[in-house]
């Protein structure tokens, strides 16, 4: 006699710490095996794109802080670059360096949170997360020093940054840069060869190369699948072409590779930061920009390499003080397209690891 099974539908989540209450997955299961996935979100939708149409360009900078709120500095940079593209203005050297320093510090901070949450997801309750936040805290202290904020920085402006670096910043940065490689190596020793991490993530949730490209996956998810694509290198913006750094890629496209890519990217960010801290020139931190921003009619799609992947701003200007259309290409949202491909065929217990490995932030998904 044979047994027949029936598919059933269950809701999973919120489980990942950054999806607290605003995200769940509706799974169709055959026993323990996932046969279909539908992500359900929209609870955090604040209608930023509509809001932005009613506010002037400068007042939209704080909105970008609230997209990927673990990487606000990079969001600031992406939006400011888009408007600078519309205005056709140059950013002074010193400001470019300050922006790169902030963006790379932020990338380390975001990856620390991402890896900490990932380990939390696969059952390492709290300890690694607290260690990760110990280092993230030092980065946040530096941000606090430059702009008085710890989460929503609102630091960059069209044509530069809001304030120059205080005198104590560079010494503190250099001290942190000397410490960080040691901490990253320590995590590497604790996690990368940890037997539980290996069993839970190696070979799990494979996203093949072609599928990663076809689903528009971005950032560590794309690079974990072996696609060497990083906007900082492939379409250099700001002053990234002046620094030496490598783009880590994975071989198998599994959960472990996505973790390894983030780990290595932190090291590469330290490399960039060391060069930037050594080279930063004296000079203006803000270009000559009129107080009233009124870009000429036109449009732009400007993208930066965010912590989660390509963060693009598509803006249509009509010559008035407000943008006519303001759209964010959010990597966290679009990476969810690939989630389905990664999950089908795996068991419910693997879902936690796979979902953790895409490093999602809901502020950016819902907008």
């Amino acid at each position: 006699m044979t047994f027949k099974t029936e598919h059933y539908v269950i809701n999973i989540g919120p489980q990942h710490p950054s999806t607290h209450g605003v995200f769940r997955l509706r799974l169709t299961l055959d026993g323990e095996v996932i046969v279909d996935v539908e992500p359900i979100f929209g609870y955090l939708h604040r209608g930023m794109e509509k809001l932005a149409e009613g506010r002037n360009y400068t007042k939209n900078i704080p909105l970008t802080d609230r997209l990927d709120y673990l990487a606000s500095m990079i969001n600031n940079q992406g939006y400011c670059m888009a408007v600078e593209d519309l205005l056709k203005i140059e950013v002074p050297e010193r400001a470019q360096y300050i922006r790169v320093i902030m963006a790379e510090l932020q990338r380390i901070g975001a990856h620390l949170a991402g890896i900490g949450f990932f380990l939390n997801d696969i059952g390492a309750f709290m300890t690694p997360l607290l260690y990760m936040f110990r280092e993230r805290e030092k980065i946040v202290e530096l941000f606090d020093m430059v702009c008085g904020q710890r989460l929503n920085y609102n630091y960059m402006r069209f044509g530069g940054v809001a304030m120059d670096l205080p005198d104590e910043f560079l010494p503190a940065l250099k001290k942190l840069l000397n410490e960080l490689p040691g901490f990253i190596n320590e995590y590497d020793q604790l996690i990368t060869t940890n037997e539980i991490v290996l069993v839970r993530s190696k070979g799990v949730g494979i996203l093949p190369r072609e599928m990663a490209v076809n689903t528009s996956a971005a950032g560590p998810v794309l690079r974990g699948s072996g696609v060497k694509w990083d906007l900082r290198k492939n379409r250099p913006y700001s002053i990234y072409d002046r620094f030496e750094f490598d783009i880590p890629v994975g071989e198998h496209g599994d959960t472990y590779d996505r973790y390894l890519v983030r780990m290595e990217e932190m090291r590469q960010s330290v490399r960039i930061l060391k060069q930037a801290a050594a080279q930063i020139p004296e000079g203006e931190y803000m270009g000559k920009v009129s107080k009233l921003i009124r870009p000429p009619a036109g449009e732009t799609y400007t993208a930066v390499e965010g912590a989660k992947g390509e963060l693009g701003f598509y803006i249509i200007a009509d010559g008035s003080e407000n943008p006519y259309r303001w759209h964010v290409r959010a990597p966290s949202l679009i990476n969810l397209t690939a989630l389905r491909e990664m999950l089908i065929g795996w068991k419910v217990a693997d879902l936690m690891a796979i979902f953790g490995s895409i490093d999602i932030v809901m502020g950016e998904v819902d907008r």
Binding site: F41, E49, V227, N234, H327, I334
Partner: protein, 149 residues
């Protein structure tokens, strides 16, 4: 400035799929809605184009018409291309889905449907993405009125 010779691409599309498929000037490439699927497949598969990565898909309401904007990258060559599809019918805007060409369009087409009410034929799961089922109207249309205010 665009990195591609847009007029050249438009001429190629018109030659393959008939006059009126595409039009271009220095700044923009416009593809007609009826032949979008074939044009998209060509842009992805032809070796001289190779636009295998859909960066972004979004729409804008120009009051007289909608335009849906596609931003593409050819990852091998590192080139970019963007094109638009204009939709004159404000009552019932309809466009073929490009999911079969770029799976990455899935959630983005749903977002455009949710915010502008543009229907993508052939989309396997065209439901609202952010707003709840039954939400009145499409918030990013310029004539949308927020009744709560």
């Amino acid at each position: 400035m665009p990195e591609q010779d847009l007029a050249h691409i438009a001429a190629r599309l018109n030659k393959e799929f008939g006059e009126g498929t595409a039009a271009a000037d220095d700044l923009r490439l416009i593809i007609c809605a009826e032949r979008l699927s074939q044009a998209a497949t060509l842009l992805r598969d032809a070796p001289e184009y190779g636009f295998d990565y859909l960066n972004s898909l979004t729409a804008a309401d120009h009051k007289t018409h909608f335009s849906v904007v596609y931003h593409l990258t050819a990852l091998e060559a590192g080139r970019r291309l963007s094109f638009k599809v204009d939709l004159d019918d404000r009552e019932n805007p309809l466009l073929p889905s490009v999911i079969s060409v770029w799976r990455g369009a899935d959630l983005q087409e749903r977002e455009v449907f949710d915010m502008f009410g543009i229907t993508f034929s052939g989309h396997p799961n065209l439901k609202r993405l952010f707003m709840w089922e039954g939400f009145p109207g499409y918030p990013l249309r310029k004539d949308w009125v927020n009744r709560d205010v």
